[in-house]
Symmetry: none
Subunit: 410 residues, 2 copies
């Protein structure tokens, strides 16, 4: 018997849409000969990544697509962001997303993004080295741009505390407060406030900020924390499915979700996640990774951003580009690999944000029951042989298709 | 940004069917140009109002269509009937459906419907005014024909008691008994029996009955209670969805469900719920209600009754009539309103009762992904872009379509 097929899960982030006034969508309008060819070779359908009518975040959607019920495992964005920047989070840690920001001498936030600072590496190093907290260990790492992740590790912590981000400029940095009566929440709120004070002290005269001020730029003289989450215990994909998994993605959040689920992140040069991202490099990397891993998740960003920007032309163009770069998928032998192409959610131009409209999904493999669908888009997919499935079912279907599923009963 | 779209949910009660020996159904056979036009403008599918293979009652189906899990909220028919006749039920009340009936001098029920009496208003008034119960307040109201609703309000009541309806003639009025060991059930059973005795006393010489006897008609000299239910706490549609809701319906049960869910009942002259019902008036009322309400549920009766009567021709004719009266739906601007047309369940001619066969559903709005379906019937709908959904998903989908849904995650 042959070894089980490998699995390549391609997620075109935010690809699907609602029809515009001409009754079309970027995916339908885009010239996508490669995706259309794949559709004609496979089985197609539509998918509610969480459930019909439930608007997914990128985080909850990806968890669901990996077969992890977000109602059980999604405790907030912090843990996944922290894992995404490479912090090895553990169950029980409390993690946050953070912004480097600018405040004035009265502690009023004047720029929530510190002039979109990019040079945060030295600052982050100083914070990691100099902050000393009683009762918890600090794990701090910068992310892209003005972003960072903060993790507190110690006994008896809680994520049920308020954030320090005032959410708008012109307001002071907020004091974190416990949101329940427990001593864990109080302890954690005290830690967060102590951390914030120490960080402000470290940043006040930091060389990076001295330089920025001399250049007339906004200094990164405070941190704003939000998205607190207790790191959950997540069984990894090897334990859950018996597969070795890898993730190829530019977005820290997606990388973080992959890592939290025990997948190895495979970095790609020039993978920025934007319109200019090195999609070809990611596709190549993901294809090669099938030699070493059973399951590879490839996330392609760009369409989602164009949806958030409400830019029909950019979204269409990004999808054309993605299609061209995905041409190597046609060279993958459907005898040995299950290729799944889908999206994590719709990001309609008319909404400018995620919607619950189902996403098109196709599976290409020798074992699938092919259908009459000949194009990859929202309309054609709904006529396919998969009918309508849920994100939580996807991995189970794929495990069955690759003969990895266990029989339930006798 | 525009205000969110309004929502019009049209439920053609019991519309769908199983094929007859010619392979057709009343809905397929009926000439329905307006519904067919709507199908061609929208997205279509089939829907299990509760779950595949679960035969819905009208009550459980409507709850499910409104997004209220009947397994949680359906405690019996009594509460919804009582709300339907206009009793302002409260969580914790125990409510019943009741029949006015005729018994002989030995207490044997000789006519469960008291000669299909209609003049029950004075009798009901006498009961409400004269019955005095220890330990509970009585709320009594007549319904259509020989029907009425009874509510007991007080501390420590239970619906876990047997009914007093013997279910067939030739048997005595049944004594209500506690169905568990708790003192609440015993107290309530005693109340019901005490209530029945007092009602029989009041009715014995009641002028309405004296007149009926003189006319050779059966007197309404007892009440038969059934469908006991503890009134549940139901969050209203404004709390649950952030919408102001209204219901246009003839059936007390549907009105009651709407009211229990916090929707306002908008009465329509001549809306009887039968073949002769003023459907046009209901459609007009529902359409106008969209000016004042975010969400309007319109229930059209008739097809269900024809199904119960196993009358293919009448059901077909009713559906033709409903189609003609629904023509104004075509004048509603799909930019600003989501129109949903569906049924609460199938009532197949061959069964003469509700079945679990899925119902056709269509949604018409600028944001939906249109499909190739060009007719509104059970067969065409199954080829539509919605594929197969569940009743509990409907409101979530509509809330997402009208941009009212909250994002889950980030």
């Amino acid at each position: 018997m042959n070894p089980p097929s490998k699995i390549l899960l391609v997620i075109i982030d935010g690809a699907s849409d609602r029809p515009n006034e001409d009754g079309t969508t970027p995916l339908k309008k885009a010239n996508t000969p490669n995706l259309d060819k794949l559709a004609s070779l496979g089985i197609n359908g539509i998918m509610d990544t969480i459930a019909p009518g439930i608007r997914p975040g990128s985080d909850t959607a990806h968890l669901s697509l990996l077969g992890y019920d977000p109602h059980k495992y999604y405790t907030g964005r912090g843990p996944f962001e922290a894992a995404g920047v490479g912090i090895e989070v553990k169950a029980g840690d409390v993690a946050f997303r953070a912004n480097f920001a600018t405040m004035d001498e009265n502690g009023i936030v004047t720029d929530r993004r510190a002039g979109r600072i990019r040079e945060t590496h030295e600052i982050a190093k100083s914070i990691q080295e100099s902050v000393k907290l009683g009762g918890a260990e600090l794990l701090f790492r910068e992310s892209t741009g003005h972003r960072a992740a903060v993790v507190f590790r110690g006994d008896g912590l809680s994520a049920n505390i308020s954030s320090t981000d005032p959410n708008k400029e012109g307001k002071p940095v907020a004091v974190s407060a416990a949101l329940d009566e427990g001593k864990e929440a109080r302890k954690t709120a005290v830690l967060v406030n102590e951390f914030t004070v120490q960080v402000q002290e470290i940043l006040r005269e930091h060389p990076t900020n001295v330089k920025r001020i001399s250049e007339g730029k906004h200094p990164a003289n405070t941190l704003l924390l939000r998205g607190a989450g207790l790191v959950p215990h997540i069984p990894d994909v090897e334990e859950k499915y018996g597969v070795k998994g890898a993730v190829v993605a530019a977005a820290g959040l997606v990388i973080g979700i992959g890592r939290m689920c025990g997948m190895v992140h495979l970095p790609v040069e020039g993978a920025t996640g934007g319109m200019d991202s090195n999609i070809a490099g990611k596709v190549e990397r993901a294809g090669k990774a099938l030699d070493d891993y059973d399951f590879v998740m490839l996330n392609i960003k760009g369409a989602d951003e164009a949806g958030h920007d409400r830019n029909f032309e950019n979204k269409t163009e990004l999808l054309c580009k993605a299609d061209a770069e995905l041409a190597p998928l046609l060279d993958i032998d459907p005898e040995n690999v299950v290729i799944v192409v889908t999206a994590d959610h719709s990001t309609p131009i008319s909404v400018g944000n995620h919607s619950a409209d189902p996403v098109p999904i196709m599976m290409i493999n020798r074992s699938v029951r092919t259908d009459r669908v000949r194009e990859y888009n929202e309309f054609a997919a709904a006529e396919g042989g998969l009918c309508r499935i849920r994100g939580m079912d996807l991995m189970n279907i794929v495990m069955d298709l690759t003969d990895r599923a266990h029989k339930y009963g006798a």
